[in-house]
């Protein structure tokens, strides 16, 4: 992801505000482009391969559907309308809502309406809203764990560079970065949930929990498995950044001034090393909120990621659009927040 805008340099509240507005307007344009591209891929690519509206519709009918029924479905799902009309209807739905005939009557799907699933004929937006808390719980919980353990391990490793502790943690970190999550996930489930019975089995909905303890119990294994993956790379990043920073002049100056070692490490050393960590964290969290696909599928968690897999398997455009937009929104917001926080975290940026 490249940024076209210059970094925030001044403290002026007006400047910051104007900057945010510009980024938000840019974000809206970006989201529109994303939906247009998704639409184009879904409809135009098959057309290039010679597929007709009826060919597309044949995916959403039952096993024994005849030509007439397929055509009926093509008309009902709007495939026979020109592409710009279908796209216009989608945009209108986002802003003003849509009407849907479910048989005996018509219901109104209020804005923002992401349309109705081609396959299940259920409205997409309520599904997304329903699943977001699961993905958010997974993402934030894992993020907290990996940030604390990853950065903490990285700092300690950097300070005790070359020691046995350093070498062994970095080896474990290498394993964590290399092992795919569906492997570690299935293995952890097999050991901790089914053999030992310590953790919850796959497939429970953590949002059904009646109290926070149960909620955490349902999520602890996915949290730890997911966090292991990220903590590993954060540990390595932090260690590299710390090693670099601790050799800088300003750190030596701080020590020479007689500051306690803890202050030198955290306030001066770590703070500077945090810049790349912050960038990565923003991107990672943004992407995770858009759906931790592998983790959710492995642990059968009913979040946005699992929804994405369901949508893709069925070639269900409204669901795909919904998930894509949600993910895009989170990534854009995450990027914006990260850029704003640079000014706060990195003293070098502020003095430019």
């Amino acid at each position: 992801m490249t940024r076209a805008e210059p970094r925030v340099t001044g403290h002026s509240a007006d400047q910051v505000f104007a900057y945010i507005i510009r980024r938000l307007i840019g974000a809206v344009f970006l989201l529109i482009i994303i939906t247009a591209v998704t639409f184009a891929i879904f409809f135009l690519v098959p057309r290039l391969g010679g597929a007709t509206a009826d060919d597309l519709a044949s995916r959403y009918v039952g096993r024994s559907a005849g030509a007439e029924q397929i055509h009926q479905t093509a008309v009902k799902l709007g495939f026979t309308d020109p592409l710009y009309e279908q796209y216009g209807r989608f945009l209108k739905g986002l802003v003003a809502g849509q009407d849907y005939n479910y048989g005996p009557a018509t219901e109104h799907c209020p804005a923002p309406c992401f349309g109705y699933s081609f396959l299940t004929q259920n409205p997409v937006w309520p599904d997304l809203v329903d699943r977001l808390p699961v993905t958010a719980s997974l993402a934030f919980g894992a993020a907290f764990i990996w940030l604390v353990t990853g950065v903490g391990t990285g700092v300690v490793s950097a300070l005790k560079r070359g020691s046995l502790l350093d070498r062994s943690t970095m080896s474990i970190a290498l394993a964590g970065v290399s092992l795919p999550i569906f492997f570690t996930g299935l293995l952890s489930l097999s050991i901790f949930s089914y053999s030992l019975g310590w953790t919850a089995q796959g497939g429970t909905n953590p949002m059904d929990a009646s109290n926070p303890a149960w909620w955490a119990y349902d999520l602890i294994l996915p949290w730890v498995t997911l966090a292991f993956l990220y903590a590993a790379s954060y540990a390595r990043l932090t260690r590299a950044g710390m090693l670099e920073t601790m050799n800088e002049d300003f750190v030596r100056t701080a020590r020479a001034k007689g500051l306690p070692e803890r202050t030198v490490v955290i306030k001066h050393g770590l703070r500077s090393a945090l810049t790349p960590i912050l960038t990565i964290f923003g991107l990672d969290l943004g992407l995770l909120l858009g759906g931790a696909i592998l983790t959710e599928t492995t642990f059968s968690l009913p979040g946005i990621g699992q929804y994405a897999v369901i949508a893709l398997r069925a070639n269900d455009l409204p669901k795909v659009l919904g998930v894509t937009l949600v993910a895009a929104v989170f990534i854009i917001v995450a990027n914006l927040v990260v850029d704003l926080l640079y000014a706060v975290v990195d003293p070098r940026v502020r003095t430019q």
Partner: protein
Amino acid sequence: MLRTKKGVQHEMRRKRITTATAVSAVIALSLAACGGNGGNGGNSDGGGSSTAAAQNAAVTKVFNPSDVKGGTLRMAHPAFWDSVDPGDTYFGMSWNFVRTYGRSLLAFKSAPGDEGSKLVGDLAVGPGTPTDDAKTWTYKLRPGVKFEDGTPVTSKDVKYGVARSLDKATLPNGYTYFNDFLLDIPKDYSVYKDKSLTGVAKAIETPDDQTIVFHLNKSFSSFDYFAMLPATMPVPQARDTGAKYKEHVLSTGPYKFESYQLDKQMTLVRNDQYDPATDPDTGRKPLPDKITVELNVAAADIDNRLLAGDLDVDIVGTGLQPSSQGKVLGQADLKNRTDNADVARLNYTQLNSDVPPLNNINCRKAILYAADHEGYQRAYGGSVGGSIATNLMPALVPGAEKFDTYGFETDKNGNVEKAKAALAECGQPNGFDLNVAYRTERTKEKAVAESLQQSLKKVGINVTTKPFPESDYTKLYVGKPDYAKNNKLGMSVFSWGADWADGFGFLSQIVDSRVIRATGGNSNLGVKLPEVDKMIDKALVTTDQAAREKIWVDIDKAVMDSAMILPGVHAKSLLYRPENLTNVFVNNGFNMYDYTVLGTTKK
């Protein structure tokens, strides 16, 4: 060296690509859940029960019989199925499960062995009465059946249930049997546009609350199988919500919906309005107090949970994943909890007579002689996956006969001499080139294609394998006559599971030339024999069961004589029954555990 944001982003981009590749692997893992498996032969004869765990203890007998009520039956599905709306569903496991919350006119008897493929009265008192050359069918309903809210069920509710299922725009997933056979149904019929049901007035009559009469546009001797279909489950017109009805289906069965979260899970609890006195014939045993079905559970996880005792039933009913099969069969105590059930499914390869030189019958026969049948069986997992098929209909179809026209059993790896002789007769003594199509996602079909490649090479037939995506296989490629012909798809690996195990259910969709549509989506990938079409018509009007079954056997023989199909394997599935399940047996109507009788010892 200070890592730049760009450098770090580059590293993360690489990780994204790895992640993306890994996603496809997970999807592939989960998709493996949908494949049908097979096993080797075996015949079933009802009666008997046992409690000692042994392999196949539940195939022809009741395992762990019990009348003890209570507990929760925990089921899971790796995806979701088309719909829980009885008028909108086309999967065997759905037809099995729907009987817990709905009663159709007739039902497969809940009994092990051959008894399970008999149709008995559920909502109706018994099989229908055919009149007018099997064009009219009359059923009498049992009195005293109620919906979950206490409203009595009448024949009008059954009529409405069938009528609404005709609307394929609102309810697109179901079968079209009623659309095809009922008399004078208007085009694009919808009960939502025709609230007075005038359009079906000729097709379905309800002279009184306990009688329903169906009028067909042609004679059909096996209409009782239609009366078994979930579309005949009653639906009150005033409470029908069209595409939304699946959110709360009104129950007439022993259980009713407590909750249903689409794509997530459903919970059923006892329906207090269900009166067992009105259900004397089906053999239902509603033992658990609650039934839960989790949806979209990772397929590998389902097997692990079954083995760990955290799950009771894999509701798909096609058996353990290939990855778990090896482990389970390798351990004696686990093997004793498996059932290698026959399935009404034929894994076969279609030969396309539109693609020269397969227009010559002897060239086709050469393929049947040369093919390696053991190799075909190995592709489906060996004897656990199925038995070598020497003809089309498997033994579990009532009245089916096993015959071996080409000597598959004696020449398990093919007969090169006979094949070469056939090639000489069709004018291709040095062989010829041929394409074989298969579905990319199905590793078993790929293995079949490769086995054919190897075995046919011995007689000079050079086979090129051509994979196609599963979702469009029949709709756009192999099942679209023009495409298959123009792209010279001489052979297509395919699999057919009968909607129900009788001659019509098993054969009509794959050997009747008149069901072939030019627009694609065909299951008949190339059998065009006028004499077979005539025999099918005769079978449809023959109401005497034995005579009818004989005709279907003759059809089987005629298709085999024409060498249009290379039968591969009669499928079997490897089912696993956890220790705590009671009353377990395979129902021959669905080829999986009967879901209306299962109980659990876990409270």
